[in-house]
């Protein structure tokens, strides 16, 4: 066998190896697409842990215990009604999500928690939250309860200073805008950043709705 014949033979063998590798990769990909493995749009909370205790008063004056919304997927996020720019759009995204879910929205509890109990009275929440959807929860926590819940969820709440000589009721509240997703069993499963769109949440929420049993 001369050198050129040897190279030609080696080339054919290499080509065959590449072909085999490609075929195996294609078969592997095909097999993987059929498995129940799921990649989430949200950031998984691993290991999934029980959702923090959260008890307050809903906008309708009724007590609200997050744990009692069992068998429903829950989306919890924090804000305040005087927030002009970000919070209304967080609620608007939940409207879009509800529209996309259709009748399945009844199995998803949207829970807006005020970080501003001083100004966000239950009466104030009752004029704000149901304007987006009457099925949404708008929860006022007592200030000490809010501190505990903030610690348990690991969120930041910082109150700005009212303008000098101005209205003491005018201040901003810096706060975490994360969406926390809790599965039907009450486990905190996923988080989404404030910039997440309804379309980002939708497939994950649908998967959690279908996952009747488990974490």
């Amino acid at each position: 066998m001369n050198i050129s014949q040897h190279r030609s033979h080696q080339g054919a063998r290499l080509c065959g190896v590449q072909t085999l590798a490609l075929a195996l990769a294609a078969i592997f990909a095909a097999c993987m697409s059929g498995t129940p493995h799921r990649s989430w749009n949200g950031t998984p909370v691993e290991p999934a842990t029980s959702a923090p205790h959260l008890v307050g008063v809903n906008w309708d004056g009724e007590p609200l215990d997050l744990a009692q919304l069992q068998d429903r997927v829950r989306i919890v996020f924090f804000g305040y009604t005087f927030c002009p720019d970000v919070c209304p759009f967080a609620l608007a995204k939940m409207q879009q999500l509800y529209r996309a879910l259709g009748p399945r929205a009844d199995d998803v509890a949207v829970v807006f928690v005020s970080v501003d109990p001083k100004r966000d009275t239950v009466a104030k929440l009752s004029r704000y939250v149901p304007g987006f959807d009457r099925r949404f929860y708008g929860v006022r926590l007592a200030p000490d309860a809010l501190d505990r819940v903030a610690d348990d969820f690991g969120i930041t709440v910082r109150y700005g200073r009212p303008p000098d000589g101005g209205d003491g009721n005018r201040y901003f509240v810096d706060h975490t805008g994360t969406f926390f997703v809790i599965d039907r069993r009450g486990n905190l499963r996923l988080t989404f950043p404030p910039s997440a769109r309804a379309g980002d949440l939708l497939p994950d929420i649908e998967a959690l709705l279908e996952d009747a049993g488990g974490s």
């Binding site: 490609l22 002009p84 970000v86 608007a92 879009q96 304007g131 810096d174 975490t176 769109r197």
Partner: protein, 173 residues
């Protein structure tokens, strides 16, 4: 099938799959791309034109959004906004860092760079209407924008639903 023919068949197959995937993603991309904001000016003064005004008015808060295009060679500044049906209108910016939303006032105004644009949009620069004096949600707010060079611009801003401005309308199941 020989090695060579098999390899060519696989490559062709892979290329077709790749093209199909690219086409699929292109379709998805086209579907989810946000609609371009209307470029029809609704107000003008000097070198400036104002586009796509929208307001959201809620029981405790109200915010304004629009874009200003500067066609001139000189920078300008949006110094402030006045509204006859509000105590004040303030220029603010929402900022997000590590998931925490912060709001900062910009009493110095917002720059409108030469041959550039200023965009007030949800989650970014915006104008907050302080204590709007409204009996019910209006159909529009009448404002005057105050610019350092171009002067005053009267603007009628339609009130819209927040979901009309929130990104995410592509949420279809």
């Amino acid at each position: 099938m020989s090695h060579r023919r098999c390899s060519v068949w696989l490559r062709t197959r892979c290329a077709r799959m790749l093209n199909a995937m690219i086409a699929t993603f292109a379709i998805i991309g086209a579907c989810v791309a946000p609609p371009a904001a209307t470029e029809t000016p609704v107000a003008a003064a000097g070198d400036l034109t104002v586009l796509a005004p929208a307001a959201i008015v809620l029981p405790s808060s109200a915010a304004l959004y629009f874009a200003v295009v500067n066609h001139g060679n000189s920078d300008d500044t949006l110094l402030g906004i006045s509204c006859t049906t509000a105590r004040a209108v303030e220029l603010h910016q929402s900022l997000e860092m590590h998931g925490v939303i912060r709001m900062r006032a910009h009493p110095e105004g917002f720059a409108v760079p030469a041959h550039g644009r200023l965009v007030l949009e949800p989650g970014g620069r915006h104008a907050m209407v302080v204590a709007p004096d409204l009996d019910e949600t209006p159909r529009a707010l009448d404002l005057t924008l105050h610019f350092a060079r171009a002067g005053d611009v009267a603007l009628r801003v339609p009130v819209v639903d927040p979901s009309d401005l929130a990104t995410g309308d592509e949420a279809h199941s």
